[in-house]
Amino acid sequence: MAKNLVELQSQMQSDILKRESGVLKRFSVPKHTTAEKRFAVYQDAYQIRLVEVLSEDYEVTWKYLGDEQFYQLAVEYIKTHPSDQTNMRWFGRHFPEFLTQSPLSSDHPVLTEIASIEKALDDAFDAADGDTATMEDLAAIPPEVISDLTFKLHPTCRLLRQKTNALDIYMALVNEQTPDPLESFDETKYTLVWRSDMMCQYRALDAEEGMLVDLMLEGKDFALMCEMAATMQDADSAASRVAGHITNWLQSQMISQLIFAK
């Protein structure tokens, strides 16, 4: 084992992360400069690069917070979550969760939820490709098995369950508009994020549709979905409402597979 190299790399990395200078004595630099100045290029680059990644991945969260607060949070995140990824694309994956623990989040409970929307969009962007079921697939299902029909969501789908008007604030900021004031709700606000035709999409779901997508994720069948829909709104039209949602999901490329016993 390259013992000297092991020790050198450990010290150099530690000094980059902690902005310390123990390793400087091992460097050789021209007379017109100093080892400290030259090493600072590496020390500065680490933080600059990762702040930049966070500000690209969480651009709307940054807009909401403003430069100073976002920078403070980004620096704190970098300190507490050194990158362990070979691609910086995933460096910020814990950022929404980190925001829930930040003292700033108690003032801005919406922060985590805005960041979660951004993360879900990033995740949908390069999530696995998958089949997309079509209306023709639905039409081919024998009527006698329709009540047992279950659904496999497209691998790019992410269902967010939120408690604030984060989506409205997110949309206002994306469109360069002044967002409404923060609102918190007792009931769950559902947002669905997915990819169709290689483009990331998102939309709010009402309570009934949110519940139905939740049931889909749990592998529940069409009959149960109709039963549950009947408890939410008019019972007589429950089956046609669920059918309407399924049509919409198929047309939006949200469903990978229609599963039924043959």
Partner: protein, 285 residues
């Protein structure tokens, strides 16, 4: 030694900002090949892989990574290498390259191309790792010289000796980054022309041309500026020594319109046509 891959001509680093211009162009663009950043396509699916599939139908592709960390003392990241191999199976690149550097230890990635001392110990360590990677990937890889801002007191040889010896011991190819030679030459006050003269001709399969920035008493390899005149002058020297070597403009930040990069690429082409014969400039395609 594995036979060198063919001369591909003049290429560009593939950047998402240019996908539409490249794929929707009415006429053939004066680009002979593309280099992709491997990590950006080591994903499950979506647009990056879709774009790669369309590009590779029309252009030769090479893969260039930033996270192999070949000079690290941490164990080789086999999960990373498996994903790299999977991408190579998909992309069918003419070759794969990464940097002569380390990016972190103890499970951390500093996302930087960190230098190592030029010692016999490091030579053995790095050459051994390159051999293991080549065995795992089942192919010869190209290793790129990096820009550096510090040198080590314990170094026992020059960078060019170290780079040449690595290539010989690991039996790998070299990607000569002309800008990195210039930047390190300025930063460490060595003769960049001499560096070029000391690198073995038979090992070099690719040239990078890139821009850099000026810091306080230091040049920094930022890839966010056009290639400067001095780097083009050094490129001319490199062409005289190495002959036809696949050349590309590497821009990673402050990405300009494609036309600006094509102008830079055209300048490289013109320099090459003043040095190499039409026969030498014929590409494999």
């Amino acid at each position: 030694m594995v036979e060198k891959p063919p001369f591909l001509g003049f290429g560009l680093g593939l950047r998402p900002q240019h996908y539409p211009e490249i794929l929707d162009a009415d006429k053939e663009l004066p680009i002979d090949w593309f280099e992709i950043i491997s990590e950006n396509y080591m994903v499950e699916g979506g647009r990056p892989l879709q774009m790669l599939d369309r590009i590779k139908e029309r252009y030769p592709v090479v893969m260039h990574g930033v996270s192999m960390s070949i000079a690290s003392t941490a164990p080789l990241n086999m999960e990373y290498l498996a994903r790299l191999k999977k991408l190579a199976d998909h992309a069918n690149p003419k070759w794969i390259s990464d940097h002569l550097c380390w990016t972190g230890v103890h499970g951390v990635n500093l996302h930087d191309l960190l230098p190592i001392p030029y010692t016999e110990e490091a030579l053995n360590h790095v050459a051994g790792r390159i051999s293991k990677v080549q065995d795992f990937l089942g192919r010869c890889i190209a290793i790129e010289n990096v820009s550096s801002y510090i040198e080590f007191k314990e170094s026992e040889m020059d960078e060019w000796t170290f780079v040449s010896e690595i290539a010989k011991r690991a039996d790998c190819w070299l990607l000569l980054d002309v800008n990195n030679v210039f930047v390190s030459g300025q930063n460490h006050q060595f003769d960049d022309g001499n560096f070029i003269e000391q690198i073995p001709v038979e090992r070099v399969v690719q040239f990078h041309l890139a821009g850099h920035s000026e810091g306080e008493d230091v040049l920094i390899d930022t890839h966010d500026q056009p290639v400067c005149d001095e780097v083009f002058e050094l490129y001319e020297k490199a062409l005289k020594r190495f002959g036809p070597v696949s050349t590309m403009i590497e821009r990673d930040d402050n990405i300009p319109p494609l036309a600006e990069l094509l102008d830079e690429l055209n300048r490289a082409r013109q320099i090459a046509s003043g040095i190499l014969s039409p026969e030498q400039l014929k590409t494999a395609a």
